[in-house]
């Protein structure tokens, strides 16, 4: 009865191991050369699995929320004190921001500045996360049907998380900033010095292509520069933490490990977009 159980290679077990090893290596080679059919098959399969993962991740999220709530219960007093202080500070900053906003509008009007395009967004839930030796990606529960497209920026309330790299009809894969293949144009918020932020699969990211003697210092805030027209400018990215071996290291504001819901921005730069998106889809800009 069980003898016939499902090993379709049952008659040739001797060849099963080398055959499957060869198959695995073959698939890796196809993935390496970015075979479009391999990519599309994977996107479709994730699409099929996405509802299952979504349902499964809900109890996990509920448990985590409970753990977090219990944790918060114990330090509610300290947190309350800290929040009061922060609120006072923020009220002050709000007044400053209003003042600056009004001034900025005036100056922009005086100079006839071109208005930045507005951005629409879709709120998504992060349902899957991977942090292996190869990649740092996340899966979200929205896709083409919700207007998600390759190249769009993904942000949390703290800052940018990454960019969309694969889109199925109801799921999408996000390349996190910490991934080895992630490169985004950034600038120092104060000095406007441009650089490129690169991931290396570890938790810290680094600045590459920063000009020698560029005005960068420890503690500087980084924002997206919007160069290339794919990402909206001014999204908070992270803070410069130090310099190791001539390379500036950066701690990101948004920790993907703590984010359950994120927003995917539809940043429409008129005229530039179709070509830019295609380039993103083909991996040219990554």
């Amino acid at each position: 009865m069980l003898k016939s159980a499902h090993n379709f290679l049952g008659e040739f077990p001797r060849f099963a191991f080398p055959l499957f090893v060869a198959l695995a290596i073959g698939l890796m080679v196809l993935s390496r050369i970015d075979n479009p059919s391999v990519v599309s098959v994977r996107t479709e399969l994730v699409d099929v699995l996405a509802p299952v993962i979504d349902v499964m991740s809900r109890p996990a999220a509920a448990i985590e929320n409970t753990v977090t709530q219990v944790e918060h219960f114990f330090d509610v007093y300290e947190e309350n004190q800290a929040l009061r202080l922060e609120n006072e500070r923020l009220l002050h900053w709000q007044a400053v921001a209003r003042q600056l906003d009004a001034e900025n509008r005036q100056y922009s009007a005086l100079l006839s500045t071109v208005v930045e395009p507005r951005e629409a967004f879709v709120t998504v839930r992060i349902i899957g996360m991977s942090s292996g030796a190869f990649v740092k990606t996340a899966i979200v529960n929205a896709g083409r049907n919700d207007g998600i497209q390759v190249g769009q920026a993904v942000v949390s309330s703290e800052g940018i998380l990454g960019r969309v790299i694969e889109v199925g009809s109801r799921s999408a894969r996000i390349l996190l900033l910490t991934d080895l293949n992630s490169r985004i144009p950034v600038m120092v918020q104060q000095s406007r010095a441009p650089a490129v932020l690169a991931g290396d699969n570890s938790d810290v990211v680094s600045l590459v292509f920063a000009a020698d003697g560029a005005a960068i210092a420890v503690g500087d805030r980084l924002v997206t520069s919007g160069e290339g027209g794919l990402l909206p400018p001014g999204l908070p990215v992270g803070i410069v933490t130090g310099r190791e071996g001539g390379i500036w290291r950066v701690r990101l504001f948004a920790d993907p490990a703590r984010v359950e819901y994120a927003r995917i921005l539809d940043y429409a730069l008129p005229g530039l977009l179709p070509a830019a998106r295609e380039a993103g889809a083909a991996g040219e800009l990554w």
Partner: protein, 179 residues
């Protein structure tokens, strides 16, 4: 075909696929975002644990084809190059199959140490394939953290799979060519 025969067939199919299905569920569980408090992302590869367990107790049902499928689904979900986890899992099955008689029927601690070695072997395979694939020496840190995490979670995984295993009828005899 009468009704009892149909029921028996469904039962047989369920029994034959139970190890595969339970492993796939664990792979999906391992891909969940895990953001408990201040720990950060540490997601173990539970597929390796499942393949390890089933290769020891039901190698007739956790075949190379099943192990390959488990690895492939893990790759699809994690976004790693297709075949990379599959390769690691195949090698784990091969090693465990050869060492099965030293592990079967032993106290749980022995099994646990066995799993540590298997998980380390899988990590080494992953590290090598990643380094060749990306053409650079990749950071060992995340891999080690994941292996340790899988280690910590192994008792829970083994307990769950044991609950699943006792529901399966015993095979008359596991005749298996050790290849």
């Amino acid at each position: 075909m009468d009704a009892t025969a149909a029921v028996r067939r469904i039962r047989q199919a369920l029994v034959a696929t139970a190890p595969l299905l339970s492993s796939l569920v664990l792979v999906l569980l391992g891909s969940m975002p895990l953001y408990a408090g201040h720990i950060g992302v540490v997601m173990p590869q539970l597929g390796v644990a499942a393949v390890f367990y089933w290769t020891i107790y039901r190698p007739d049902l956790m075949t190379y084809s099943a192990a390959f499928a488990v690895g492939l689904v893990a790759d699809i979900v994690s976004g790693a190059p297709l075949g990379s986890t599959a390769l690691a899992v195949l090698i784990v099955r091969r090693i465990v199959l050869a060492q099965r008689r030293y592990l079967i029927g032993k106290p749980f601690q022995v099994l646990w140490v066995g799993f540590l070695l298997a998980a380390l072997a899988a990590a080494v395979v992953s590290w090598c394939t990643a380094s060749i694939y990306l053409f650079r020496l990749v950071d060992v840190g995340p891999l080690l953290v994941r292996t340790m995490m899988a280690m910590v979670m192994f008792p829970a995984v083994a307990w769950l799979l044991a609950r699943c295993q006792v529901m399966l009828p015993m095979p008359r005899a596991i005749t298996l060519q050790r290849n």
